[in-house]
Subunit: 349 residues, 2 copies
DNA sequence: TTGTAGGCGTTATCAT
DNA sequence: ATGATAACGCCTACAA
């Protein structure tokens, strides 16, 4: 049972040629006589040769350099968890000779995003990890990186491009359906539901749209009940009045689905106005959301595992560069349903 | 920004001694003059030396050997996912020189468990990975491994022992609370709830008890509603009548919490007898459970991520042996809430 | 076309 | 106490 680990030297001895020849066969570099080729291939067929990746890397001994571009978490706390994942990866891969650098840009400023990209492209790293906040600009930039032979990975978003090495994210349409099923379970039939898109900026508007489509799609398929679903898009400043107004116009409202990480803003209003029995489902484990989840104002949060997203992306790149593994073009993370009871088990991870 | 990677050779040159001396300082092997010690330590203080783990492993070049003992999935399909996780680890770590072997025992036979352990201990592996099915016997066996200096990791269960390197599992009490909160959300107040423990054998009875305690604990803390919670422990053969009988005695029943992976057995009866509006919450993504989740008979499943459990356990051991990382004594995995909509996102992972 | 020699960074042994 | 040297497995340059 205890299989021997074969080395190139073993193969050379077994097939009666030198290590160099075996290497040429393994890497298909040519310059090998038919006879030697056959001899080596015969041995390779018999044994299960696994090149020692550790030795290979020691030899190659390249320092790989990866740049990560993230919106500044001080401007939008959602991104803090992504930064945590990056830092975990930095610590873990440092001793493997992988240098990961983080660059912040302002989520409100296309200009800052473009400038940071200019800086990064001048560093000519081996790979960059991006998110798709400014769609048009990012597409153009991906093109530039591609021409420079810098690998691009995307996190937090799906994108259809063969110039992207891999992306890690969540099926947003499906997460809308998940929210819908939960909402259906906890609200009375024949009531009204709000979908609220709320953010300071609407860069990632496709995000919200996909979630809304999934949410509506679920209710459309429902055979029982008669829900009325109403969407609103609200910019952050002074929206309190707007929300209060909307609620007063719709006394039959039983649930609110917030498609961004800003559910706590709605929760705050619901709590203050003491309207009761409005169920809230939102996204992301921000501290403020957690507060309202724990006191029962928010019923469910959907977790997009932002920390895992960046960590996975980076460890894929490491696998690719160091251990030349095939990495999937797309990795869709689980859509985690969080209530106040299983919350803690997620925070620890 | 691009930090240089320092090697032992660099340190030797900088401090004016030889590589050998640096090595002795780094490993505190003594036999170093005060002068040389100071010189090297001064340099070490200045620079951030990270030993190259790849080179170290190449040199050490030990084949690590890990044995995993799992209940045979043919006798209880729950364990199949664990085997999947093991196989993933086998493939991933093979090229790092880690050999992982799987051994099956019968979950119904303490004897087979003890025999397999005898076989394994004779192989004197570097580590074993166990689950805590036969409590008393396992405790004794852990002692034996400990004396042989074979590391022991545990998956699927918590255990308090300093002779165990690490365990990966779930907080079962808390998972009972999670089930309770969900149940509370989807059943009317002032109704009855069954807790049903159902299995062929009751080896892992503590499992079920902890889940029950968590479940009851949640309802005890509830300030609203007036639930009556009734537990039943049922052995598998010919229990159909028993269940039907119990249901007929309790017309006010609105939900059933199944503490094992056998919720599908209850679901089948509910479906056949066409009793409606009984909510079911169970554990584990077995194929039969999934069927009833998809057709709406089962409302929620709690996922214990068995595949992840074995994979994590093994990759911790690899981290420990190859990269001498500190590994946590305990890793509690998230308590995943699964409904028919987010199910697919878990199956792909 | 083929084989030999050297080196990657670390560790361990062996003279000095 | 110290430094030189060889070895781990793989890769590559260069000599034959």
């Amino acid at each position: 049972m205890k299989k021997k680990k074969y080395t190139i030297k073993d193969i050379a001895k077994l097939s009666g040629v030198s290590k160099g020849t075996v290497d040429r066969v393994l890497h298909k570099r040519g310059k090998v006589s038919q006879k030697a080729l056959d001899a080596v291939n015969n041995i390779l067929k018999e044994i299960d040769y696994q090149p020692n990746l550790i030795a290979r890397n020691l030899k190659i001994n390249k320092v790989y350099h990866i740049c990560v571009l993230v919106p500044n978490p001080h401007e939008d706390p959602y991104w803090q968890a992504c930064v945590d994942g990056i830092n975990e990866a930095i610590a873990e891969f440092k001793s493997l000779g992988v240098i990961i650098e983080t660059f912040f840009f302002s989520p409100n400023s296309t200009k800052s995003f473009l400038e940071i990209n200019k800086t990064v492209i001048n560093l000519s790293p081996d790979a960059v990890l991006l998110t798709l906040l400014f769609y048009k600009e990012t597409i153009e930039i991906i093109e530039k990186y591609y021409l420079e032979n810098i690998k691009v990975s995307i996190f937090n978003c799906q994108i259809r491009s063969n110039k992207v090495k891999n992306f890690v994210g969540q099926d947003l349409f499906q997460s809308g359906r998940v929210a819908a099923q939960l909402m259906n379970m906890i609200t009375p039939e024949n009531s009204d539901i709000f979908i609220i898109h709320i953010d300071e900026v609407f860069n990632n508007a496709t995000h919200m749209q996909e979630k809304e489509m999934g949410f509506r799609n679920y209710f459309k398929e429902l055979t029982t009940g008669n829900y009325k679903i109403i969407s609103h898009k609200i910019k952050s400043p002074d929206f309190n009045k707007e929300i209060a107004h909307l609620l007063s116009l719709n006394p039959n409202i039983s649930g609110i689905f917030v498609t961004t990480s800003k559910a706590y803003k709605i929760a705050r209003i619901i709590q203050d106005t003491k309207i009761k029995d409005i169920k809230i489902i939102g996204y992301d484990l921000l501290e403020e959301n957690i507060t309202y989840l724990n006191n029962g104002i928010i019923d469910f949060l959907i977790h997009q595992n932002p920390k895992g997203q960046t960590y996975f992306s980076l460890s894929y790149l490491v696998d690719f560069f160091l251990f030349d593994k095939d990495i999937p073009a797309e990795k869709l993370l689980p859509i985690d349903i969080i209530n106040s009871e299983n919350l803690i088990s997620y925070l620890e991870n």
